[in-house]
Symmetry: C2
Subunit: 112 residues, 2 copies
DNA sequence: ATCTATATATTGGATACCCAATATGTTTAT
DNA sequence: ATAAACATATTGGGTATCCAATATATAGAT
C-alpha cells in the first residue's frame, strides 16, 4: 500500500510499449460487458495508466465499425459487447500473442 | 511440422498487433549481438513475418540515437550491441510486459 | 430548475510502427 | 573490371496509439 494505487506502475521508459490497445480491449470484453469508463479503469489496472479519452473512444468506435464489438446503451452508459467475429478473433489473437512472446514470459513471467 | 515454415504464422486479422518492435529488438539483443538482417530473420521467426527495411532500420537508428544500443561495423555488416542503459531498460520492460499481460498468458500460454 | 458528477465524444498534434519500392554501398565471384 | 549477391538505408504514404484540452449529453441531488 506504500506502493502505487493499483497493479503495475513500473512503466518502462526505454521502450514506450505502445500498441495492443484494441487487443487489450477485446480481451477485457471476454470477461464481461463493460462501458467506456469501466474499460478505462481496467486498462489502468493492467498497464498502470488509464488511456486518455482521445485514445480510448476512437479505438472503441473503430472496433464497432469493424463489427468486432457491438454497443448497447443503458442510460448514459454505453456497454460494449463482444460480437461473434470479435469473440473468434480475440482467441486467435491471444494464441498468436502467446506464441510470439512465449520466450519472454518463460524468462520473466511465471511466479511473482 | 505439417504447419508453416517457422514458429507462428497465424497472424490475426482482428487486431493488427502492431507495436513492440523496439521492445522485441532489445530483447533479441539480450541473446547475442546481431546485425540488421539477422534481427529481421529472428523477428520473422517470432512474429511470422519479417519487418520491412523501412520499418527495421529507422527503429534501429532510433534505438542507437537514444543510446540503448551501440553499433559496431564488421565489413558490410553492422552489429548492434545492447548498451548499458539498454540492458537495464530491457529487463525493466520485460518485467512490466509480463505483469501487464500475465492473465492472458495464464489462459492461453503455458503448454503447447 | 439548476448544479454537480458522470460518461461519452471531439479536436489537434505527436510518435511508433507498418508497407512497397527504390537507392546506396560493400563483398565475393567470375 | 564487372556482375551478382548481400546489407544497409531512404522515400512516401498509411494506421494505431498516445497526449492535453475541451465539448456535449445524461442522471441524480437539492
Amino acid at each position: 500500500m506504500t506502493e502505487k494505487d493499483e497493479c503495475c506502475s513500473n512503466i518502462p521508459d526505454c521502450c514506450d510499449m505502445r500498441g495492443l490497445l484494441s487487443f487489450s480491449i477485446l480481451w477485457l470484453l471476454t470477461k464481461r460487458d463493460m462501458y467506456g469508463q469501466e474499460l478505462a479503469e481496467e486498462l489502468g489496472k493492467m498497464r498502470g495508466k488509464r488511456p486518455n479519452p482521445g485514445t480510448l473512444y476512437p479505438a472503441l468506435q473503430e472496433l464497432e465499425k469493424r463489427g468486432l464489438v457491438e454497443a448497447r446503451k443503458e442510460g448514459r452508459k454505453k456497454f460494449y459487447v463482444l460480437a461473434e467475429s470479435g469473440r473468434m478473433g480475440v482467441v486467435e489473437a491471444c494464441e498468436y500473442f502467446c506464441t510470439v512472446y512465449a520466450d519472454i514470459f518463460r524468462e520473466y513471467g511465471a511466479d511473482e
